[in-house]
């Protein structure tokens, strides 16, 4: 990766240089400041940009998290605020968006795929691979059974009318483009994006 370090230089502010620093030369002993470091602990946080998931406005969020992935801690999101640099929302959030931290930390939040088999009243946990395989299988079976390749006037068409597709709200243009390409090429006509909750 090329780094574009512009007209910037670096400065060494370390204990070794303090004895000949301007502060010492002005008559202020640097030793207490150097010693004070022992009373502090260095802690780190990350700030990650994201979009609010609630509605199609897609307001910008800054997610603050603690934890250092390098030492096997799980990052813990502890604060969420509006992204002041987001061109649409400019840092503001609606009450639902402002409360998104509770949503992230909700104990009832779904964090893995689950299935309720026909006739059963019980939800059971399955793996992502299993979930995606099942969804793909059912889509393929339904499409094979109901696909329309010719309309009543004999024109060739690509129509799969027995299934529909609902895409997520806070998608980017790129996600919207890809969703459209995948869904339309399968022949689905019933297709919407969730615009609000």
């Amino acid at each position: 990766m090329t780094l574009r370090v512009t007209r910037r230089q670096f400065f060494k502010l370390g204990a070794a240089g303090m004895a000949t620093s301007s502060m010492a030369m002005m008559g202020f002993a640097p030793e207490p400041a150097v010693a004070s470091v022992r009373h502090f602990k260095l802690t780190g946080a990350k700030i990650t940009r994201n979009n609010c998931t609630y509605c199609s406005v897609g307001c910008g969020l800054l997610l603050y998290s603690r934890g250092d992935e390098s030492i096997n801690n799980i990052d813990d999101i502890y604060h969420v605020e509006g992204d002041p640099d987001h061109p649409v929302s400019r840092g503001s959030l609606c009450p639902k968006g402002a409360g998104v931290l509770d949503f992230i930390k909700s104990r009832s939040r779904l964090s893995h795929p689950m299935v309720r088999e026909p006739g059963s009243n019980e939800w059971k946990r399955i793996s992502w691979d299993e979930a995606l395989d099942r969804i793909a299988r059912r889509m393929k079976d339904d499409r094979d059974a109901n696909f329309v390749s010719e309309d009543e006037n004999g024109n060739t068409v690509n129509h799969w009318l027995t299934a529909g597709f609902l895409a997520a709200s806070a998608s980017s243009n790129e996600t919207g483009y890809l969703t459209h390409k995948v869904v339309r090429s399968l022949g689905m006509l019933a297709f919407d994006n969730q615009a609000r909750v």
Binding site: L13, A15, G17, P32, L42, P84, D85, G91
Partner: protein
């Protein structure tokens, strides 16, 4: 509404800094006397700023031309030989004279009687971010204080604020081209949460997105490091925005944590954060504060 691209310093910038330094002097025991003295320095800067108009100004067309073409209109490189630094220095030293203690008086005398060539050499060193010769280093922050007054005075004569800096130059000051001392995250209702870099020389503030490295402009490996005391409480409202791509850091100060903060003052007071980071050794400091010069 978009936040303003560039905010020029108010005419009480040094008075506010002085108040903050005095307040911090009571909070940071290890630097108490140093911060109290720097508070006196800022007070003298304010007095010097209020005394009179700039004795030298660029041609008005030069301002307009520079602003039109996105160049810093008060470039430290272009103006260092034009600004009347001697009279700025004398006005500042006169204002400081009343407050300076016995221990620091020799510095004032050293500057007053410094041969012109030597003074010019120190001005060059300060504007280039060099530590200067060891025997003059004690006097350099006082000379830097006079330079800050000179440039704030010039900035206040600008007909307009500079435009938003273009990509290549947005990590240096759009007014004078000097590097920033730190970032400040604003708490004003109109642009709450927006980050501004603040110039270490002329106190101009300019916008840069949050969560972006102010040196290499990458966003992927930023971490915000700060100091906690023994009880786990955050210390000053100062964090280091560290970048794992270019291995540098710049302090960032959220006004939400303390509305009274001042970039220059809080940078001096949070020296322990620099010392900790230097000990850790992973990140180099990119912020330039000419009121604290450290050599090798």
């Amino acid at each position: 509404m978009d936040p303003p691209a560039v905010i020029l310093p108010a005419n009480d910038v040094f008075a506010i800094r002085s108040q903050r330094l005095h307040a911090l002097s009571g909070r940071v025991e290890a630097l108490s006397e140093f911060l109290a003295f720097m508070g006196q320095v800022a007070q003298a800067q304010q007095a010097a700023l209020e005394r009179g108009a700039p004795s030298w100004l660029p041609e008005p067309e030069a301002f307009t031309l520079a602003l039109e073409h996105g160049m810093p209109p008060l470039s430290v490189d272009a103006l260092r030989r034009d600004v009347d630094i001697r009279s700025e220095l004398m006005a500042f030293l006169d204002a400081l004279d009343l407050h300076v203690g016995e221990a620091q008086r020799p510095l004032v005398e050293q500057l007053r009687h410094m041969p012109e060539e030597e003074r010019k050499g120190l001005v060059e060193a300060l504007l280039d971010g060099q530590p200067g010769p060891e025997e003059s280093r004690g006097a350099m922050p006082l000379l830097a204080a006079a330079l800050q007054v000179a440039w704030v005075r010039l900035v206040r004569c600008l007909p307009d604020a500079p435009k938003r800096p273009s990509d290549e130059t947005r990590t240096i000051c759009p007014s004078c081209g000097a590097p920033p001392v730190a970032s400040v995250v604003q708490n004003d209702a109109a642009y709450r949460g927006a980050r501004y870099l603040q110039c270490g020389l002329c106190a101009t503030q300019w916008y840069l997105e949050r969560a972006r490295c102010s040196v290499c402009e990458h966003t992927g490996k930023l971490k915000y490091l700060s100091l906690q005391d023994d009880d786990g409480n955050p210390w000053l409202p100062v964090q280091a925005e560290t970048c794992g791509d270019c291995h540098s850091y710049l302090k960032i100060m959220p006004r939400e944590l303390d509305d009274g903060l001042d970039a220059i003052a809080d940078d001096l007071a949070s020296l322990a954060l620099d010392l900790s980071l230097n000990e850790e050794g992973a990140f180099r400091r990119s912020g330039y504060n000419p009121l604290l010069i450290v050599g090798e």
